[in-house]
Symmetry: C2
Subunit: 368 residues, 2 copies
């Protein structure tokens, strides 16, 4: 696939080129949207926390890492059960190298980060199996849209990432409710993708909400309310508010497809201002199919940061090449923004060096 700088043009090549032309040398604002849910605590669903209860801390800790360079609400940094550190390490490294201002937005969290963040009045989400996933989804979306309108005036374009454990499961549920066949296509932060478990959980939620495949294709708010997560209305509202005026790079993997479906259902006119930014690991993931989902919704361009940790000196980074983590906390989009802002001066090699420096500081030193 064609590359510009170290950015892979993964889908809709000419739209990718256009999008990169619009953002290169320009100043982005990175917005990180956080949320927590009870869905994430279903055993086997999420790798974002070693123990299910820890998933409540992951989004707050990720947000702290982005803003402060270290976490406050937990010691060290979030890791997978195997001890692999959060992709926020990548995001933070990219944002710092490129001096990108960063704001945190909460759609609803159980553990609040110890940093300034934009509150939308939302609460932590329920277990989608109950069919009562998100309270006040519409109000969260309305408030996020107002924030998006204001924030879009403050930068040349926005990059929006997210951190919500269990997020691919809720994404799958919302997509099925909206008629996007994402079964077996959503990604996982684990090398073995537990599609069966996700589908079982999702189907229980849909059944208990009385939702059939596609029955909510025009009603994303109800889909989120029943089987989504609180990150979704916040993220979608920000996009809806900002993309009327500015380009928006939605930074993430297959969860971005759920956002795209929500946004499209509420305002088709802004789709030409939207792109998806992810990582090479995500688009190379044979257990998922990002393009296969996006193409069902809207032909927005997909770009991927050509990150390569194969020769890293740290095992905790080399294992990214084996399918661990892959994406999250807007790692791919933040890397793309850093590359585009610096017109390639921040290459994947420069980025890896900075990531290793931060890895050493935050992961190695704590162990020794």
């Amino acid at each position: 696939m064609k590359k510009i700088y170290d950015i892979i043009l993964a889908y809709e090549e000419s739209k990718c080129e256009d999008f990169i032309k619009r953002i290169e040398g320009k100043k982005p604002l990175f917005i990180h949207v956080i949320g927590t849910t009870e869905t994430a605590k279903i055993p086997g669903i999420s790798a974002a926390g070693k123990y299910p209860e820890l998933t409540d801390y992951t989004p707050a800790a990720d947000a702290e890492l982005l803003l402060l360079g270290s976490c406050k609400c937990i010691p060290g940094v979030p890791t997978t059960p195997e001890g692999i550190p959060t992709p926020a390490l990548i995001t933070m490294s990219a944002l710092r190298l490129a001096d990108v201002p960063t704001l945190i937005v909460s759609g609803g969290v159980k553990i609040r980060p110890h940093i300034p963040f934009i509150d939308l009045g939302g609460k932590s989400g329920g277990d989608i199996r109950s069919g009562k996933a998100v309270a006040d989804a519409e109000e969260i979306l309305v408030r996020a849209r107002i924030a998006g309108e204001n924030l879009s005036k403050l930068a040349d374009y926005l990059v929006i990432g997210e951190s919500v454990p269990g997020g691919t499961t809720t994404a799958l549920a919302v997509m099925l409710a909206m008629g996007v066949d994402a079964r077996g296509k959503v990604s996982s932060s684990m090398p073995y993708n537990p599609h069966e478990l996700k589908i079982r959980v999702v189907e229980e939620g849909l059944r208990n909400s009385g939702i059939k495949f596609g029955s909510l294709s025009n009603d994303p708010i109800t889909a989120i309310s029943c089987v989504g997560d609180p990150m979704m209305p916040a993220f979608a509202g920000l996009v809806l508010g900002a993309a009327r005026r500015s380009p928006v790079l939605m930074a993430g993997g297959t969860q971005m497809c759920a956002i795209l479906a929500i946004v499209k259902a509420l305002d088709q006119t802004i789709l030409q201002n939207i792109a998806i930014g992810t990582t090479r690991w995500l688009i190379s993931d044979r257990s998922a199919d990002l393009k296969g989902i996006v193409s069902q919704i809207a032909d927005v361009p997909i770009m991927a940061a050509d990150l390569d940790f194969a020769r890293s000196k740290f095992n905790g980074l080399r294992v990214y090449e084996e399918g661990f983590v892959k994406e999250g906390v807007g790692a791919g989009g933040a890397s793309i923004a850093a590359m585009a802002k610096s017109r390639g001066l921040i290459s994947k090699a420069v980025l890896l060096e900075e990531i290793e420096r931060n890895y050493e500081r935050l992961v190695m030193l704590r162990r020794s």
Copy 2:
């Protein structure tokens, strides 16, 4: 006094000229800092709410008015006991005319606005007579500083306003604790300035905190914690984080002197990036002495929007000329920013027209 556009150069004329040169034609970000306190509920202290308990709603309602163009948490708009509407009408009109993006920051409020706002983890403040006014003042300031650093990268300069009922009383208390003699010099939103009452309340607070005049001149955090309000550490932290990089227009009256004293005690090096922006009514107030306080702290420039409501068609605006309201919600600073951004195209006449339009929409129509 000399004017540029409809901006009065009220103090340190050449510094005013320099500051206006730095901001004219440039793009500001308006940040509105809100807080509530039990101090505001002491009878006679605040005119921001008709009944003492209503002071809890005023900052949230003001914030909603700025972001939405109308209030959500109360019907209509906040008014004084006489029915005179909030100065947020002026601020909102100026920000909309000049298309200035706006963010809300909460230092700690009892009633949370129904809009997106940046939460710093603070709580509503106590009654300063108890000597326990603000919990976690230092943490609020630290978080605000991080927000200020990030937000300063997003605009050419910042304009920061505030809404905290009873704020001149807490300002007086903090200034006396820090050795600034503001007795009889702080302003009031009422034509009759209840200096005696304010001093009595403040002295009780200082006594119960074991604070003597000037004994905390180097310890603003303790001064705020004992006798301040939660707006202060939020506002000061934003200034401290932003003014290293960008000009900051502190938008308000004599409360800005308390912020100035706090900021100076923590970082003298940024004072050359700071100006105070207020209204003509405030600098004409014979019951107060803004310049007399500022000159005790640091010779930062003071500018005043030359607003004149004498010929307004609405009585609720004409009474501003009799000393009601005078300033608040960053009305003066927002007007100055609108004039400077438009290089004078937004004149005081243009602004009054827009204010009257909004007055009609929000105040008159509701009554009929």
